[in-house]
Symmetry: C2
Subunit: 724 residues, 2 copies
C-alpha cells in the first residue's frame, strides 16, 4: 500500500532513478557518488532546510503585504516544503519527511480558518498572501514537496492534508478565484499548474481537466490554451526577457508533470514543441549570461535564476540536448530531481557543448504577427557582438514606449544601452523595493530609449492602452554573414508620422568590426521636431563639433516626458547635419558618426536631472535634434568600433576613427551611405529596401555609379589611397 502510494507520487512528480527510501547509511553512500553539481545542490538544500528545522515549524496567521514578515515566512515555508521533500527522497533521512509532514499539518490547521487576506490590495486577493499569484506559487512548490513525503504519513494525516490544505488551496485557486484562473495570463499559468499538479497527486481527474482546459473544460482557457496564446510561434513572451524567465517556470514544471502522468498528451510536442522552443528563446535573449534589459527589467538578472535551473533541467530531461549542459555549467546550479541528476551526471561526464547563440528573428504575438525582436549576432564567445532591434508589441503593463529601439553589445559590454526598469528590487529605502516613480517618468519614456521621439512626446503619448493596440511591422530580416539587416516600420506611435528604421551590421574592408549602419526616416505631412537619442556607455574622447558648453551651470533639457531627467552638458548647431563623437569603454573605442537631411542640433547630455532622491543612474547620451518643416527627417549613422587601449601595457591602438567622412543620400527610395576612410578607400552601403534578393538596383551619385542586387549591399567605390 505504502509502496503503491509512493509509486503514484513518483509518477506524479518525477521519481529519482535512485534508491529512493533507502536507509540512511545507504543513502549517504549513494550521495557520495553523486556528481559534483548535484552533491553541491544537496548541501545547499540541507543548509537551508536544516536551518528551517532548527527554527521549528512557524506557520503564522497571514497579515502582512509583500515583503512583510508573514509574507516572507510563507515563502520560506514553501521552499522548505519543496526542498524538504526532495531531500527526503534523495537522502532517505526520515527527519525531512517528518518536518514537511508537521509543516503541512500546521497548514491544515490554519487553512480552513482563512478568508481573504487582510492586506488585500485589489480584487486578486489571496489567502496566505495578499495576492492570489503568491498563493498559486505556494501551491506549485508545496505540492511537489508533499508528493515526495505523502506516502510516509499515516492515513489520517494524509487525509487531513489532502483535504484541508491541497483540496482547499486548489479550490480557492480554481473556483473562488476563477476570474484569475481562466485568464490567458501568466498568473493563470501558476494557478493552473498548482491545481493540475494537485489533481495528479490526489488522482482527481476533474481537477486536472479544469487545469488543462479551463474551469468549463472547453479548452478556451486553461493551461493548454495558455501555451498557445502566451508565446509567439518563435517562443517569445510578449512582456520581454525579464518576465519571460519568470513566466517560464510554471509552464515547464507543469508540463513535466503532464508528461509523466499523461505521456499520451505529448505536451512537449504541443504546438510544434513550443515550450522547449520558449526555453531556448529565453536563453537566446541574453548576452554574457544577462538578459536583454528592455521593458521593465532588473538589469542584474541573469541565467543564474531559480526559474531557469528548473527549466534547463526539465528541457534537458526531455531532449538530452548537450548545448543545454553548457548553460547549466554557467549557472553552476541544478535541481534536486531526476532531471537535475541527469544534468549533473552528463555535465560531469564532459558532455556539454556550447549553446548556439545566433542571429534570429523572434516574432511577437500569439500568431507571430505583432512585430518582432530581431537579434543580429557576430562572432563567438562571451565577447561576441549582438545587436537587438526591438520591433515588438507593447508587452502588457511592463512594456516601455520604445518602438524600433535598439541596443548593441560588444566586447562583453552593453555599448548602446537600454535603461531597464527604474527599480531597486527589495531595497527598502527605495520605495520599499517597488517600481520607482522614475520608472514611469524616465524608464518608460521614449526619450530614455534609442528610438525616435517626435515633438518631445512619448510614443502613443505614453498611454499603455493605446500602445497595446498596435505594433511595428518587421519589413525585412537577414542574418547573411557580413551583411545582417533588420528593417521595421511603425505608423501608429505618433498620429500622422510614419517611422522606418533599418539597422545593418556590415563588414567593410579596412574597418574593424562591429560596424552598425542605422537609417532612420520619418515622414509626415506636418512639421515636427524630431529627436534621436543614443544612450551609449563610455567616456567621451572627442567630438568634431564646437558646442556651447554648460560647464558651470547645468540646465535640463525639457519639462516632461522624460526630458526633465536629462541634464544638458553641451549643445552644438550643425548646419550641415553632420558630426561624430568618440568614446571609450573597457579598452575599446567607438565612434558614432551621423548625417541628416538638414541642420541638426547635437545635444550631449546625461540622465539624472530632477531626481532629488538619487533614484536614477547617471548615464550619457547624445541626442540629435532635427526640426523639419516639411515633416521629413532622415538620420543616417555609423557606429564604428576601433582600436584598443591597454592601460596595463600602456599601449593604445587606433584611438581615432578610421573613417574620414560619411554622406547619406536617398535616391529613388534607396538609401546610399558613402564612407570615405582615412586611407582614401571609399565604400557605399546601398539599401534598396526591396526584399527580392535577385532584383538589380543602381543609382548614380556624384560621379559614382553604384550597382547592387537585393535589399542591401556594401559596394566599393573608386577612390585611391589618400594616406598611408
Amino acid at each position: 500500500m505504502k509502496r503503491t502510494a509512493l509509486l503514484a507520487a513518483a509518477a506524479a512528480l518525477g521519481a529519482l532513478p535512485l534508491p529512493a527510501m533507502a536507509a540512511a547509511p545507504q543513502a549517504v553512500e549513494a550521495q557520495q557518488q553523486f556528481p559534483p553539481l548535484f552533491a553541491a545542490e544537496i548541501e545547499r538544500a540541507k543548509e537551508f532546510v536544516d536551518g528551517m528545522i532548527a527554527e521549528g515549524v512557524v506557520v503564522p496567521v497571514p497579515k502582512d503585504p509583500g515583503g512583510g514578515y508573514t509574507h516572507e515566512q510563507h515563502k520560506r515555508n514553501y521552499r522548505a516544503i519543496q526542498l524538504g521533500g526532495q531531500l527526503f527522497r534523495v537522502t532517505g533521512e526520515q527527519r525531512y519527511a517528518d518536518y514537511v509532514g508537521q509543516m503541512l499539518l500546521e497548514y491544515a490547521a490554519l487553512y480552513p480558518t482563512l478568508g481573504d487576506h487582510p492586506a488585500r490590495a485589489n480584487q486578486n486577493v489571496g489567502r496566505l498572501f495578499w495576492q492570489v499569484l503568491n498563493d498559486a506559487m505556494w501551491l506549485v512548490h508545496a505540492v511537489q514537496g508533499y508528493a515526495d513525503i505523502r506516502d510516509t504519513l499515516s492515513v489520517e494525516d494524509r487525509q487531513r492534508i489532502d483535504d484541508d490544505v491541497f483540496r482547499r488551496a486548489a479550490d480557492f485557486l480554481s473556483v473562488d478565484s476563477q476570474r484569475t484562473f481562466d485568464r490567458i495570463h501568466n498568473h493563470a499559468t501558476w494557478a493552473t499548474a498548482g491545481v493540475g499538479m494537485t489533481g495528479y497527486l490526489l488522482g482527481d481527474q476533474d481537477m486536472v481537466d479544469r487545469a488543462l482546459l479551463g474551469s468549463d473544460k472547453s479548452g478556451e482557457t486553461g493551461f493548454l490554451r495558455q501555451t498557445e496564446l502566451l508565446f509567439s510561434p518563435d517562443g517569445y513572451y510578449t512582456e520581454g526577457p525579464y518576465y519571460q524567465r519568470f513566466a517560464l517556470l510554471p509552464f515547464m514544471v507543469f508540463a513535466d508533470a503532464i508528461e509523466r502522468n499523461d505521456p499520451g498528451r505529448k505536451i512537449f510536442e504541443h504546438r510544434g514543441g513550443i515550450l522547449l522552443k520558449a526555453l531556448r528563446t529565453t536563453v537566446q535573449l541574453s548576452y554574457r549570461g544577462y538578459f536583454f534589459p528592455f521593458n521593465d527589467a532588473i538589469r542584474d538578472k541573469s541565467l543564474k535564476t531559480a526559474e531557469l535551473y528548473e527549466g534547463i533541467a526539465i528541457a534537458y530531461g526531455q531532449t538530452r540536448d548537450p548545448t543545454l549542459l553548457s548553460i547549466a555549467e554557467y549557472q553552476d546550479r541544478t535541481v534536486l530531481g531526476a532531471n537535475g541528476l541527469q544534468v549533473a551526471s552528463d555535465l560531469a561526464a564532459g558532455k556539454a557543448e556550447p549553446f548556439p547563440f545566433r542571429s534570429l528573428l523572434l516574432s511577437d504575438g500569439p500568431d507571430g504577427k505583432q512585430g518582432a525582436v530581431a537579434i543580429l549576432r557576430r562572432g563567438e564567445g562571451p565577447n561576441h557582438t549582438a545587436l537587438v532591434a526591438k520591433n515588438s508589441s507593447q508587452g502588457m503593463g511592463h512594456g516601455h514606449f520604445d518602438k524600433l529601439a535598439w541596443q548593441l553589445y560588444d566586447n562583453g559590454n552593453e555599448i548602446v544601452r537600454d535603461y531597464g526598469a527604474a527599480r531597486f528590487l527589495n531595497i527598502e529605502a527605495k520605495e520599499g523595493g517597488r517600481y520607482l516613480p522614475e520608472n514611469t517618468t524616465w524608464a518608460k519614456a521614449s526619450v530614455a530609449h534609442n528610438t525616435l521621439v517626435v515633438d518631445q512626446r512619448s510614443h502613443f503619448d505614453g498611454d499603455v492602452d493605446v500602445a497595446s493596440e498596435t505594433w511595428p511591422e518587421q519589413l525585412y530580416f537577414s542574418d547573411a554573414e557580413g551583411l545582417q539587416v533588420s528593417s521595421a516600420r511603425i505608423d501608429s506611435a505618433y498620429p500622422g508620422v510614419v517611422i522606418r528604421r533599418t539597422l545593418i551590421m556590415p563588414d567593410v574592408p579596412g574597418l574593424e568590426a562591429p560596424l552598425v549602419i542605422d537609417l532612420v526616416r520619418a515622414d509626415s505631412a506636418d512639421p515636427h521636431l524630431y529627436d534621436l537619442p543614443l544612450h551609449y556607455s563610455g567616456h567621451i574622447m572627442e567630438f568634431d563639433f564646437a558646442p556651447q558648453s554648460h560647464v558651470a551651470n547645468r540646465p535640463v533639457l525639457g519639462e516632461a516626458n522624460g526630458y526633465q531627467h536629462i541634464w544638458v552638458d553641451a549643445e552644438a548647431s550643425l548646419d550641415d547635419g553632420r558630426g561624430a563623437l568618440t568614446w571609450i569603454l573597457d579598452g575599446r573605442f567607438y565612434t558614432y558618426r551621423f548625417d541628416s537631411n538638414g541642420p541638426l542640433t547635437a545635444i550631449l547630455g546625461e540622465s539624472g536631472a530632477n531626481d532629488p532622491d538619487f533614484n536614477l543612474r547617471r548615464e550619457p547620451l547624445i541626442l540629435l535634434r532635427a526640426k523639419r518643416g516639411n515633416g521629413a527627417a532622415r538620420f543616417a549613422s555609423l557606429l564604428e568600433a576601433h582600436g584598443s587601449y591597454d592601460g596595463a601595457a600602456e599601449q593604445t591602438v587606433a584611438s581615432r576613427s578610421r573613417v574620414e567622412n560619411l554622406e547619406h543620400d536617398v535616391i529613388d527610395g534607396s538609401d546610399i551611405v558613402r564612407l570615405t576612410l582615412k586611407t582614401g578607400q571609399r565604400f557605399a552601403i546601398a539599401v534598396s529596401h526591396d526584399p527580392d534578393p535577385a532584383r538589380a538596383h543602381s543609382v548614380s551619385l556624384g560621379g559614382d555609379r553604384i550597382a547592387w542586387t537585393g535589399f542591401a549591399a556594401v559596394v566599393a567605390l573608386a577612390g585611391g589611397e589618400k594616406r598611408k
Copy 2:
C-alpha cells in the same frame, strides 16, 4: 674563442642553464619541454620579433617627439633587439642573431651622425629620443640583446657595434649627459644601469665604476648611492606606487647583472637587502592586482606590467621565495632568461604559495623620517579590506596635495577612492596622451582627495616647492587584530593650522566588517572654513537629512583650487553637525555616519564641472563643511559596511545601517565615539592618543564610565536590547 666570448656574455647578462647555441632541432625539442609559462613567453616573443623581421630593419633618423613615428620605431627596435637576442639564446635559431646583428649595424651607421635630438623639449635632450631618459632605456634593453648575440658576429662587426653604438651611447649618457647621470633620481638609475651593463659586457671596468659610484667614482652619486637614497628603509619609493613600479626595473636588472659579474659586492644584501624589500613593497602597494592610485597614477596599472615581470623573476632567482610565484601566476607572464625559466618551472611544479599581503607601515624618505604610508588590512584573498593612509611626503613633481588622505578597499572594490592622475595615457585626442590640464586643476587639488581642506585652498597653496619641504608625522600605527590604527599630524599644510587624523579599523560586536572610524581634528588660533570631502564609489540609497536639491539647474561649488570642478547636487544645513549617507556598490551597502563639533553643511556633489572636453570622470562625493570661528574643528565618522544585494537571486539583506546613532566627544584629550546600535547595544571607541600600551585611561560621559588602556579600545557600554 667564440665559446669564451659567449661565456663572457653569459656571465655579463645571465645565461640560460640550457643548451644555448644548440642546433635548431635540438632547441625545438628542448622548447617542447619548457614549462607552459615559459613556452608561452617564447611564442609571444616570436610573434613580435618575427613580425619585426618581416618588416625588415628600420632605423629612422630621429625626428619625432614622444608618441611620434621615429620615437615609437626606436622603442620597438630596442624591444626587438632584447627579445631577438633572448630568442636566439633559447631557440638557437641563427636568424634571430642575424637580425639583431643587422639592426645594430644600422645603429652603428646612424649613431655617429647624431647630435641633439631635433625635438628637444628641455635641457635633458637625448640622441635617439627627445629625452635622455629614453636613450637610457634604449641602452638598458639593447645591451641585453647584444650580449646574447655578440659572439656570433665577425670581429669587424663586433668592433664596429662595440665602438659606434655601445661605447658612444654609454659615453653620451655618462659624459655628455653627466648632469642627469649624477643625479639621485630615477632617470639616473636608467642611465647608470645602461652604462654599467655596457661596461660589464665590454669588459670596461672604468665604465662599470662610474655607473656604480658616479662619474667621479666618489660614491656620492651613482647606482649604489641611488639604492641608498631613492628608497625609504621600508623599500618605499617617494613618488608613489605607480612610479615605484617604473623605477624598479633598472634597479633590478642592473643589480642582477652586478650579482653575476661581481658577486662579491653582494648587491642584493646591500643596505639590508633594500632592492628585494622594494620589490616586495611594490607588490604590497596593490589591491586585487592594481596599484593604489595615489599621486599621479594611471588607474589601470596593475602588477601585470613589464617592469614587474623582470622584477619578480630576478627576485625569485635570488630568493626562491614561493610567494613570489603566486604573483607570477597572477601576471601569467615571465621573462626569457634563466630567472624566468626558474619561475616557470617552479610554478609548473606547484610550488607557488599566496603572497602575504598584510598590514604595514611604510616609512618615506631616505632615512625613513619623511612621513609614511600606512596600510591596514583585514581578511584574506582578493576581496579583503585594505585601508591606505597617505601620510607621506610630497613625492617630487608627481605628488598631489593630499596630506593625511585615505582610501578604502573592500569586497574587491575601491570604496573610498583616489582619483589618480587626470590623464589618458597614449590617447591622442586627450592632449596627446600627456597629463591633462585637469591634472593640475583637479587631480592634484586637495579637495579632490579625502583630506581636510582649509579655506577652500589646497595644501601648501598648491606649491610643489613648499610642499616638498615638509611632511606629516606618523604618530602611531598598530596592526593589532580587531583594532588597527593609523594616526598622523601635519602643521605645515596650512600656516597656523594643526591637523591630526586618526583612522581606526575596529571590530564591534553586532556590526559587520569592515568598519572605519575616522577622527579629524584641526586647531588654529584663527577662524577658518573647514571642508572634509569623502570621495566614495556607489549609488546613493538614502540620507537622513533634508537637503536643498539642485535638480533642475546644477551649480558649481567654487571658483578655483578644484572647487570649480565640483557640481552641487544638494546641500543640507545640519545644525547638530550630524548625518548619515548610505550607498550601494557591487551588492554591498555602505553607510557614512558623522558628527562634528558644531553645525555642518553637508554637500552632495559630483566631479566633472568646468570640463568642456569631458576630460574628467564623474564621481560622487559628500563634503562636510564646518565654519569654525574659534578655529577648532572636530569631525568624527563611521564608515560601516552592511548587508548585501543579490540581483540575480533577488535577495536583499540589511540594506539599512545597523547603527542608530553616533556621538563624538573629546574629553581630556581623548576622543570618545559612542555608537548606539539598532539592537540597543552601545559601544564606545575610545582613543587616548597615548601610545603607551600599558597606561590606563578613563573618562565619564553622560552616565557612562569608560575605561581602557593604551592608545585606543572598543568598550561595551550599558544599554539593553532596544529592538529585536
